[in-house]
Amino acid sequence: MKVAVVRFPGSNCDLDVLYVLRNVLKVDANLVWHRSFSHNDFDAVFLPGGFSYGDYLRAGAIASHSPSLPTVRKMAEEGKPILGICNGFQILIEAGLLPGALLRNSCLRFVCKWVSLVAENDRTAFTQLLQRGSILRMPVAHHEGRYVNDEEGLRELEENGRVVFRYVDESGKATEAANPNSSMNNIAGICNKEGNVLGLMPHPERASEPILDPCGKTDGLLLFRSMLEFLRSR
C-alpha cells in the first residue's frame, strides 16, 4: 500500500501529514512534487494545507491548474481515497472535484483555534471508524474557510449526507458561536457523491498525537486510520 502527499509551491503542511502517515500510522507515504505526480501507482492521495502560490488571486486557484490535477481526477474516478485538508480542500473546490466555494472568514481575520466537529457521515473513505454523531476536536487555521454554495447546491449536499463534518459547540449544537468562519450551515467538510473524495478545513494531522491535543486525545488520527480500513477492505 502506497500513499502520496502532493507538494505544491507554498504547501506548508505537507511534512506534517507525511510525519503522521509515516511515524504514527506507519504506512509507506511519499512526498511527491506536484509536477512529478503523473504516474498512477498510489492507493490514496493527500492534498495538504498551506499557502500554495501564496494564496494569490484566490486560495487554491493557481494550484488547481497544476499538472498534478489530471492524475488526482483519475484517482477520484477510480474510487481511491483523496483527502484535501484546508488549502487542499480549497484546491479540490477550485478544480471542480468538490462543489461550492470557500471565501474569506466573515471576521476578516485569520483564525487559529481548536474547534468541535460533529461527524455526520460514517461511510466515506475517511470516516468509517467514526461513529455518526460523535464529536471530535481539531484545530482550524485559515483565512478563507467560509463555505458557500447556492440553495440547490446546499440542498444536494444536505439531502445526500454529503456534509461530513459540521462545526458544533461542546454539546453538539451547530451554533453561530461554534462556527469559526460563518460557513453556511456550519459546514466544515464535504465529500463527493461516491464518498471517496473528502475536503475539510480543520487539520486532522494536528490532532493525531496526544502530546499536541490540549485534551490529550487523537481525534484526527481516526480519519487516517479509517482510510487504512477502507483500503484494506477494497
Binding site: L15, D16, G54, C107, R109, L212
Partner: protein
C-alpha cells in the same frame, strides 16, 4: 541631509579622514556610497560594539556566538538550535503592515544562513495607549503583517509579548525573533572561506527598493517622482517559502559552503561581511545580477535592499547540482562572482573595475566611544507619594485584568497559525513560555522573550537584569533548563549621553544576571534612534531578552492552569514593597514613578533551582512565574485558565518590609513563582526551597468553585468570580479594537 554633503555620506570628518588614511587614496563615488552604508549605525554597530563585547558569550553548548547572523547552541542528539532577534521599528512606524511583514521576512533569512529549518517565530511589540486611534492603527496592521507573512511561510508564531506605554506612541517597537533546528554536522556559516568558490545570488530580482532618490545623484532616479517609490519594502512570503525550501535542499547537496541573507546594506553588506569573516576577498560582476528594473547603476545594485534574496557560496564541483535545485524550485538565480584571496571586495561592470575596497574597512568600521551620563534628575524618578489603598480590592483585580498590559492577547495570537509544523506542544496563552518538541528526538525546547520597559526606564540596570531573570523564570516554569539568550536592544539617540547611559546600564544589568545564572548571549540586535524627531521624546529603554530553554524529558512539561481541586497553592520567593513601574501604580493610580523591583542573582538562583527540582521530582506540573500585576493577578490567571477557583490566605505569603495589603497583592518583585501541588508533594517542595535558601509557603487551596477568594487572616479581602474574570480579561483588547468578541 547627510553629515558630509559634499561627499554625500553620513560619515563624520574623523571617519572620512580615517578611511582616506587607511586606503591611501580618495575613494570614488561608488566606494563612498558603499562606505556610507557600512559605516551606518545599523550595519556597523559602531556605538554599541564596545559594550556588547562585555556580554558573556560562551558556554559548553554554544556552537556559534555573537557576530554572525544567528547564534547557534547544541541541544543534544546531534541537533542544534539557531535563534536570533531583529527589529524593524522605523519602517513599521510608517507602514505597519509591510514594515512588520518584512521584519519577519528578514529574521527568517537570518536563520536560513545556518542551514537550520525555521520552526518558530516570536513577536515582541510595543505600542502607545490603545485609546489613541493612531496606536490602534499601528497595532492592528503590525499584527496583520506578521500574521500574513508568518502564516504564509508556514512557520508558527508561538510566543511573544505586547505591551503598551506612552513612550511608544509614535515610535512603536516591532522586534521579531526566529528559531530554527538543524543537524550540527550540517551547519553552515555566513563566511567565504575558500578562494575559488562561486558566489550565487538567489531569490527575488534586484530593484531600486530601499534606495532614496534624493540621496544619490543618479540621472535615472531623479527622473522618477519620489512619490512613485514606496518608503517601505514589500515582502513576498510566497517567494520566501520557496527560498526556504530551496535553501535547505541546496544545502543538502553538501556543496554549499556558506549562506548569507541580503538585508540592510544589500549586496555591499553581505559581500563585505562574508569575505571579512573568512579572511578572503570577493570579486563580482554586476552585469550578472538578475534585475527587476532597467538601467540600474553600480551603486544602486550594490545598495538595493530588494527583499527575498540570499547569497550562496558554492564549491565549484557542486555548482551545477546546486543550480539544479534552484531551477527545480523555479527560483531566479545568477552566478555573480567568486571568492578570491585578495582580502578585497572588487566590483566590476562591463569589463571595468568600478569599486575596490578592503573587506576589513567595510566590515569593521572604527568604533565610536560615546559618552554615558546619568540624567541629573534620574533619582527623582524614584520619589513617590504613596496612593491611598482602595477600599474595593476585588474591583481592582477586575480592572487590572482588563488593562491591555495584562489582558488576554488572544486577539493577537489567534491570527497566527501557531500549530503548523506539529511541534507546538504548549501553545500561546497556556503557560509562561511556548514549548516546541524536536521531532525525531525525545526532547523539546522552550522559548520566550520579555522586558519590562517601565522598569528599564526607572532603573536601567535593575530593569534589564530583571528582564534576564524573568525570562529565565518563564522557561523554567514550563519545565525547561535555560541555556542561552539573544537580546533585541531598542533605545533613543545614542549621541545623547543620557540615552547612551541607559544603554550602558542596560548592558551592565544583563551582564550581571547572565554571569550570575551562567548563561551566554549568542547574538542580538541594536536599534538606536527610536525617538520622536519633533519632541525628542525617546522610547523607554527596552532591551528585550529572548531565552531558549531545553527540556530533556517531555514529562517535565508544565503549564499554569490550576488542574485539580484540592491541590495546595505554594508561593516560592519573597515579596517586597517594590511598586515602582508596576501596572497597579501606573494603570490604577496614574503613578509613573517609584523604584522598580531589584533583581538579585542569589534570589533568582534560589527560586529557579527550587522550581526546577520540584518539577523534575514530579512534585508539580502547575507553575506560573509571578510578574506584572503581582500575586493577585498570577492567582487570577491560574484560576481562569483552569476554570477552577481557589481560596488563598495572602497573609501566609513570604514577605519582608510589606506593610500594606495592596502592596502584598500587587507588588511585582522578582524571583517569585506560584505552584500548585498535591498535598503529599508539598513537603518536598518546601524542603527544596529551604535547601536553596529561599522561602516557600503554602498559601491556599484550589477549589472546584467559581470564586477566587483571598483572605487576610480572617477577613475576606477579595472575592472574584472566575467566569467574570475570564470575561473581562479576554474581552478587553477586542473591545478596545472595536472588534466582534
Amino acid at each position: 541631509m547627510k553629515q558630509n554633503p559634499t561627499l554625500n555620506v553620513d560619515l563624520t570628518e574623523q571617519e572620512t579622514c580615517g578611511v582616506r588614511k587607511t586606503l591611501g587614496r580618495e575613494p570614488n563615488k561608488i566606494e563612498w556610497g558603499m562606505l556610507d552604508i557600512m559605516f551606518s549605525e545599523h550595519c556597523s554597530y559602531k556605538s554599541s560594539r564596545p559594550l556588547l563585547k562585555g556580554l558573556p558569550s560562551k558556554s559548553k553548548r554554544v556552537v556559534v556566538g555573537p557576530g554572525y547572523d544567528s547564534g547557534v547552541v547544541d541541544v543534544g542528539d546531534g541537533y542544534v538550535v539557531a535563534f536570533k532577534v531583529e527589529s524593524h521599528n522605523h519602517p513599521s512606524a510608517i507602514d505597519p503592515y509591510n514594515g512588520a511583514a518584512t521584519g519577519i521576512g528578514g529574521i527568517i533569512r537570518d536563520i536560513l544562513c545556518t542551514n537550520c529549518r525555521p520552526i518558530a517565530l516570536l513577536d515582541l511589540l510595543r505600542f502607545g495607549d490603545l485609546k489613541n486611534k493612531h496606536c490602534r492603527w499601528l497595532f492592528k496592521h503590525v499584527v496583520r503583517g506578521i500574521a500574513e507573512y508568518g502564516n504564509s511561510t508556514g512557520i508558527p508564531t508561538v510566543a511573544g509579548e505586547v505591551s503598551f506605554d506612552n513612550s511608544f506612541e509614535t515610535n512603536c517597537l516591532v522586534n521579531v525573533a526566529c528559531v530554527g533546528v538543524g543537524k550540527r554536522g550540517k551547519l553552515t556559516l555566513a563566511r567565504m572561506d575558500k578562494p575559488g568558490d562561486y558566489v550565487v545570488l538567489v531569490g527575488g530580482s534586484t530593484g531600486r527598493d530601499g534606495i532614496r532618490g534624493v540621496t544619490f545623484a543618479s540621472k535615472t532616479i531623479s527622473e522618477e517622482s519620489e512619490f512613485d517609490r514606496p518608503a517601505v519594502q514589500i515582502g513576498d512570503p510566497f517567494a520566501k517559502k520557496v527560498v526556504i525550501e530551496a535553501t535547505l535542499e541546496a544545502a543538502e547537496t553538501g556543496f554549499v559552503r556558506g549562506i548569507k541573507d541580503l538585508g540592510g546594506g544589500g549586496l555591499t553588506c553581505a559581500l563585505s561581511e562574508m569575505s571579512n569573516k573568512g579572511g578572503t576577498g570577493v570579486e563580482v560582476d554586476l552585469g550578472k545580477v538578475h534585475v527587476r528594473e532597467e538601467g540600474m547603476t553600480p551603486l544602486e545594485l550594490m545598495l538595493s535592499e530588494s527583499q527575498e534574496r540570499m547569497v550562496f557560496v558554492v564549491e565549484p564541483e557542486g555548482l551545477k547540482q546546486v543550480l539544479n535545485v534552484f531551477d527545480r524550485w523555479e527560483l531566479p538565480h545568477s552566478v555573480i562572482g567568486r571568492v578570491t584571496e585578495t582580502g578585497k571586495v572588487v566590483v566590476r561592470l562591463s569589463g571595468k573595475t568600478v569599486a575596490e575596497l578592503p573587506s576589513k574597512i567595510l566590515a569593521e568600521p572604527p568604533i565610536i566611544r560615546r559618552r554615558a551620563l546619568m540624567p541629573r534628575k534620574h533619582m527623582e524618578l524614584w520619589r513617590v507619594i504613596k496612593p491611598k489603598q482602595p477600599k474595593n480590592l476585588t474591583n481592582i483585580v477586575y480592572r487590572l485584568l482588563s488593562t491591555p498590559n495584562i489582558a488576554s492577547k488572544e486577539y493577537v495570537f489567534q491570527q497566527y497559525d501557531h500549530e503548523v509544523g506539529i511541534r507546538t506542544v504548549v501553545k500561546p496563552g497556556e503557560a509562561d513560555a511556548a514549548v516546541l518538541r524536536l521531532l525525531e528526538t525525545d526532547r523539546a525546547i522552550a522559548v520566550k522573550a520579555d522586558c519590562n520597559s517601565r522598569f528599564c526606564y526607572l532603573d536601567p540596570f535593575n530593569g534589564h537584569a530583571g528582564a534576564v531573570a524573568e525570562v529565565a523564570r518563564n522557561v523554567v516554569s514550563v519545565g525547561a533548563e535555560p541555556i542561552a539568550v539573544v537580546d533585541g536592544c531598542n533605545f533613543g539617540n545614542p549621541e545623547k549621553p543620557e540615552v547612551f547611559w541607559q544603554f550602558s546600564e542596560a548592558i551592565r544589568g544583563m551582564v550581571y544576571m547572565l554571569r550570575g545564572l551562567r548563561l551566554p548571549c549568542v547574538g542580538g540586535n541594536v536599534s538606536f534612534y527610536n525617538e520622536d524627531e519633533g519632541s525628542g521624546r525617546a522610547v523607554k529603554p527596552t532591551s528585550i531578552v529572548m531565552m531558549l530553554g531545553l527540556i530533556e524529558n517531555l514529562n517535565w512539561i508544565s503549564t499554569m492552569a490550576f488542574k485539580q481541586p484540592g491541590n495546595l497553592i505554594i508561593v516560592v520567593g519573597r515579596t517586597y514593597p517594590e511598586m515602582g513601574g508596576s501596572v497597579y501604580y501606573n494603570e490604577i493610580h496614574g503613578i509613573a514613578s517609584g523604584k522598580p523591583p531589584r533583581a538579585l542573582v542569589e534570589k533568582e538562583k534560589g527560586s529557579i533551582n527550587t522550581v526546577k527540582q520540584s518539577i523534575r521530582e514530579g512534585c508539580t506540573r502547575t507553575v506560573h512565574d509571578c510578574s506584572i500585576g503581582g500575586l493577585a493577578v498570577a492567582l487570577a490567571l491560574m484560576a481562569v485558565k483552569g476554570g477552577l477557583g481557589a481560596r488563598v490566605n495572602i497573609d501566609k505569603v513570604p514577605k519582608a518590609g510589606v506593610k500594606r495589603l495592596d502592596e502584598l497583592l500587587f507588588s511585582e518583585s522578582n524571583a517569585r513563582f506560584v505552584l500548585a501541588a498535591s498535598e503529599n508533594n508539598v513537603d518536598k517542595i518546601v524542603r527544596f526551597a529551604k535547601r536553596n535558601g529561599v522561602p516557600a509557603a503554602v498559601v491556599g487551596e484550589v477549589e472546584n468553585s467559581n470564586h477566587l477568594s483571598i483572605f487576610n487572616r480572617e477577613a475576606k479581602v477579595i472575592d472574584c468570580l472566575v467566569d467574570r474574570m475570564q470575561k473581562v480579561w479576554s474581552h478587553a483588547i477586542p473591545k478596545l479594537m472595536g472588534e466582534i468578541c
